[in-house]
Symmetry: C2
Subunit: 194 residues, 2 copies
């Protein structure tokens, strides 16, 4: 019973549809009318579940966050028993993420770029997501290379962040491989990658 009970099927359809559209086209480019049309719900159903578009945006980001960490947690766990360890699993996840046909970068970076106002709840939630993502990465580094100097952690965090943005701009998953190689350069023999 650790599963979140679906408050309603209509609500789920709204959030899932909005997530897909916001991610592919950008938040500001997707109107309420399009969301309700593709989710096949009435406009009042949406406004009964969410008091405003901003409210929906936040719900969408929370859903995205849950899906995102579920995927990464799973991939990291899978890597735990393999050669590269948890950190290897992390980079496998990164590569898979970048290789998805619908990949369009990090939704939270994109949201911050669009929202602009750093006091907006969606912006602040995005900042918080990034913090938790960096913590996840730091844990994986610690697990796979416990003897690595502490200073490599922020370095690898920058590398990973850079790889996400670069994968979007180059429309290619290769930056995931570059990030893995760059990380291996930094960790050297303290990490037994592949």
């Amino acid at each position: 019973m650790q599963d979140t009970k679906p408050k309603s099927k209509a609500r789920e359809r709204i959030v899932d549809t909005a997530l897909r559209l916001f991610y592919s086209d950008g938040i500001n480019s997707v109107g309420i009318d399009r969301i309700i049309a593709e989710a096949d719900v009435a406009k009042m159903t949406l406004y009964n579940h969410f008091k405003s578009k901003d409210d929906l945006i936040l719900a969408v980001l929370q859903r995205r966050d849950a899906i995102f960490f579920q995927f990464f947690d799973e991939q990291i766990e899978k890597g735990a028993s393999k050669k590269g360890g948890r950190l290897g699993g992390f980079f496998t996840a990164l590569k898979k993420w970048f290789s998805a046909p619908e990949f369009r970068g990090c939704m939270f970076i994109n949201t911050a770029a669009e929202i602009a106002d750093c006091n907006h709840p969606a912006f602040q939630y995005s900042v918080d997501h990034k913090k938790r993502f960096n913590d996840l990465l730091a844990d994986a580094i610690k697990a796979s290379a416990p003897d690595a100097p502490a200073q490599v952690v922020p370095a690898i965090e920058l590398i990973v962040e850079g790889s996400i943005v670069t994968a979007v701009m180059q429309h290619s998953p290769k930056p995931a491989d570059q990030a893995r190689k760059a990380t291996r350069q930094l960790l050297g023999e303290t990490w037994l990658d592949e």
Copy 2:
């Protein structure tokens, strides 16, 4: 006479104003009416110089690109005679950029996030800008650490890109220092930093 002659003062005011507003608030959040009000020009003046908003967006990105590279070229050149060399100048530029009060990340990353459509001229121009930015960085690395292995170049490119995004999310210029340190970790004794 390497200076681009101003086609008209009104046009310059339009581009400068649009650049400031697009950068601070995002392209989609800034309407034509606001641009002409703050640039203090008539709407027809804008549409006589630019056939559409998309056309203006492209002109704005080109202006941003020119200003951006002028600044980086200058800072890199200044660094050439100092301890860290051209690469040191590059990181000084990065730190100054992040420290500006109006800093809101890389306009081209932000544009790509907002535009979403990778066939849009503004998206493609942004991709091109990134390529030239990476070339600039690669040249600085080559100049300051000629004996460094070739593989460090993409690694440092990712670090720099990551530092830009992270500086926005953390609302702090510190990632510039982290990027410099991470680069020093990679280059080691082949780069005589500070």
